[in-house]
């Protein structure tokens, strides 16, 4: 899909004197990573289908500072955070939705101490709410008979106790939701958190994403569902490591819903 999308910015909204229902925080992965861009677009199609008045910050968005903070660079984190808080407060932002659990955690939990308090939702929570309110409807037909296993992102699940929203959304697909042995609060990390995404893993016997990939493949899934662009990358790599990329796909919850709803 390469049609261009009309995505309004906060600046444009403000110029027209309107207030969007929600700010969509795209995040760096969602903006720049080729794979994650597809997730971003799938989520935008959902927002459009649900007629959600949303806006993005566009060029005014910068990294939340999550990888800097977790790598120990508190100065850099706060430089980013205070800058973002200024922009967000400047626009009077109240509600934020993001498809990245790391942005979600930082915006929701760590910005209040720096003067930025918002109602922050992960996109799986937002989609779940749209489904419950009947603002979007999906037919799961295409997924009938498929097996889906969901990988809990640490920063959404164990970090913020959200295990149900992504699962409730996936159940709309009429597929069989199968759980890995290590799931929910016992879920295994994809290996990318804590700024590991941006460095080589320390030496060891194997890679974390291979361990997790093996476990996911052990459920004999057709689809491995993820809710985080970094988990997505790590798990895709894990599936490739076992030469299963022809049989098993790794997809974000938003992509699956966009697909099911033919959005």
């Amino acid at each position: 899909m390469s049609q261009s999308l009309a995505v309004p910015t906060m600046a444009a909204f403000t110029a027209s004197g309107e207030v969007p229902e929600v700010l969509f925080w795209v995040g760096c992965a969602g903006s720049f990573d080729d794979r994650a861009r597809k997730i971003t677009k799938a989520f935008v199609r959902i927002l459009n289908a649900a007629k959600v008045k949303f806006a993005v910050l566009g060029q005014e968005e910068t990294c939340t500072g999550d990888p800097a903070r977790r790598a120990g660079n508190e100065f850099l984190f706060q430089m980013q955070a205070l800058q973002n808080v200024t922009v967000l407060n400047g626009y009077g932002v109240k509600r934020i939705v993001t498809a990245c659990p790391h942005c979600f955690n930082t915006l929701k939990n760590e910005y209040p101490a720096l003067g930025g308090s918002y109602e922050v939702m992960h996109h799986t929570q937002f989609i779940n709410a749209l489904l419950k309110e009947g603002r979007i409807k999906v037919q799961g037909g295409g997924f009938n008979g498929k097996r889906i296993t969901f990988h809990d992102p640490c920063y959404l699940g164990r970090g913020n106790n959200e295990y149900e929203a992504p699962r409730e959304v996936l159940l709309k697909l009429d597929a069989a939701l199968v759980e890995m042995k290590r799931s929910k609060q016992n879920g295994l990390c994809c290996g990318a958190g804590g700024a590991q995404m941006f460095k080589e893993a320390e030496p060891g016997a194997r890679e974390v994403n291979h361990e997790r990939g093996e476990e996911a493949l052990g459920t004999k899934p057709d689809i491995i569902a993820a809710g985080c662009p970094f988990c997505n990358t790590m798990l895709t790599d894990g599936v490739k490591h076992f030469n299963k990329e022809g049989e098993v796909v790794v997809k974000d919850v938003a992509e699956l819903i966009a697909e099911a709803g033919e959005l």
Partner: protein
């Protein structure tokens, strides 16, 4: 009378020694940075009731959980018996609680059944370490003292329970014989069976009295000894688990604490009209000036709560067995982080005791915990989820990373690139803000 005096002296000495060592541990914990933790009190009490008192995280692994609950219940309830032993020992009475009648029978009966439960659990625990060899008990950090410590605790508990049951068995027979001083009291479901199996009634009353007295003394001296062993071993968790859980992190696991001093510095960097904050004053700790640092170089720079965590750790290794880095053969073991922190804190404490004040010894936490360990953490918090007493190794790892990066500028090269990208491009990759909307037409 001599026995009473001996008992009294022993009791006072044991309690005094225990109090002194406990005070020393308290002093060591307060070598850490002050941190006010007294918010959300109702939630704290309920967390403590659930996690520490209710053992809710222990039973996640049912075998260990049930066995541990037996030992735990045995410990708490049999201590009621110890209260009676104290009174009998000091006043030369025998089974002073007997006036409780039927309730006393019920108590003694329950103690005996629990004692058998504790024995069984200790044997299973020894088997898990020595025969089944569960991998988490045989990680590199468990060599030497840590595994010996565990065995000493288990064997001592077995000895204590055997002494308790022997004492009761001899007592039961003596009561039946109507021996002087051994008035009829209590219900002995387990020890009566032991007495009849071993035909104790064939023994002379004087032999039985020797047996009862020996077991009585062994039991109480063992308990007093054990009390003092607590403070030098991982067994301290039986005391610290409760406050440690009360003070545990209630914020979302992945929320990292803010560094307010940096906020001031950054604000003044962004806006030159904001004056930079006053330099943080050095703290005086154990007679030495400890400069305010970014992150943790040594135990002084960690929150006192992290130091309490270190003393609360039972080295059970549930954290390490869930840690993705450790699972994939990397050097990091969250349990080792806790053990290293405690070992360093003990080392510092001993130096302070020896010299009366702290003098820099050229060592630090980083002498024990390597960069490779620190950089292997994914901050996934599997360790904090797994810990039965809500210990938080991630916060120690994070404070040490902060020190490495902000005080020593020492990090992994790829992270330096990431920092540069975030600083210059506002993204961890080398893409400028002008490309942020490209996804709309890609």
């Amino acid at each position: 009378m001599i026995a009473q005096v001996v008992f009294g002296i022993l009791l006072i000495a044991a309690i005094a020694l225990f109090a002194r060592n406990l005070g020393r541990i308290g002093r060591n914990i307060h070598l850490g940075k002050p941190e006010a933790i007294n918010d959300r009190k109702a939630e704290r009490w309920s967390t403590m009731a659930r996690v520490a008192l209710g053992q809710s995280k222990m039973v996640v692994r049912p075998v260990a959980g049930i066995m541990h609950s037996l030992i735990y219940a045995g410990f708490i309830i049999i201590n009621l018996e110890v209260l009676e032993i104290f009174i009998d020992g000091l006043f030369g009475t025998h089974r002073i609680g007997a006036f409780l009648g039927g309730f006393y029978d019920f108590l003694i009966g329950s103690f005996e059944i629990l004692a058998i439960g504790v024995l069984l659990a200790c044997i299973v625990f020894i088997a898990r370490r020595a025969i089944i060899q569960l991998p988490r008990f045989h990680k590199p950090e468990m060599k030497g003292w840590p595994s010996k410590d565990a065995m000493i605790i288990l064997v001592t508990e077995i000895v204590l329970m055997c002494a308790f049951l022997t004492m009761n068995a001899a007592d039961f027979v003596l009561q039946g014989l109507g021996a002087e001083h051994y008035t009829q009291a209590g219900s002995f479901p387990v020890s009566a069976a032991i007495a009849s199996t071993l035909n104790l009634s064939n023994l002379q009353p004087s032999t039985l009295i020797t047996m009862e007295r020996t077991a009585w003394w062994l039991h109480i001296v063992g308990i007093l000894g054990f009390l003092n062993y607590l403070v030098v071993s991982k067994h301290l968790h039986i005391l610290l688990a409760f406050p440690n859980v009360w003070y545990s992190k209630l914020a979302p696991r992945t929320e990292f604490a803010n560094m307010p001093r940096i906020t001031g510095e950054v604000k003044s960097m962004i806006d030159p009209s904001v004056p930079p904050p006053d330099p943080a004053p050095a703290r005086t700790v154990a007679g030495a000036e400890v400069p305010e640092r970014f992150g943790a170089k040594d135990v002084f720079d960690l929150s006192w709560k992290s130091l309490m965590d270190a003393y609360s750790c039972t080295e059970c290794g549930r954290c390490t067995s869930e840690c993705p880095a450790n699972l994939t053969g990397k050097l990091l073991s969250p349990r080792k982080i806790m053990m290293d922190t405690r070992d360093r804190l003990e080392e510092v404490g001993e130096a302070i005791d020896a010299k009366g004040k702290w003098e820099d010894d050229g060592q630090s936490l980083h002498s024990r915990i390597s960069e490779e360990e620190l950089w292997a953490c994914t901050t996934c918090n599997a360790c904090t989820q797994a810990c039965p007493v809500n210990i938080d190794p991630v916060s120690i790892i994070m404070e040490m990373r902060r020190y490495k990066v902000m005080e020593e500028s020492s990090t992994r090269p790829a992270l330096t690139s990431m920092f540069n990208n975030v600083e210059n491009n506002g993204a961890p990759w080398a893409f400028g803000a002008d490309r942020r909307m490209e996804w709309t037409n890609s």
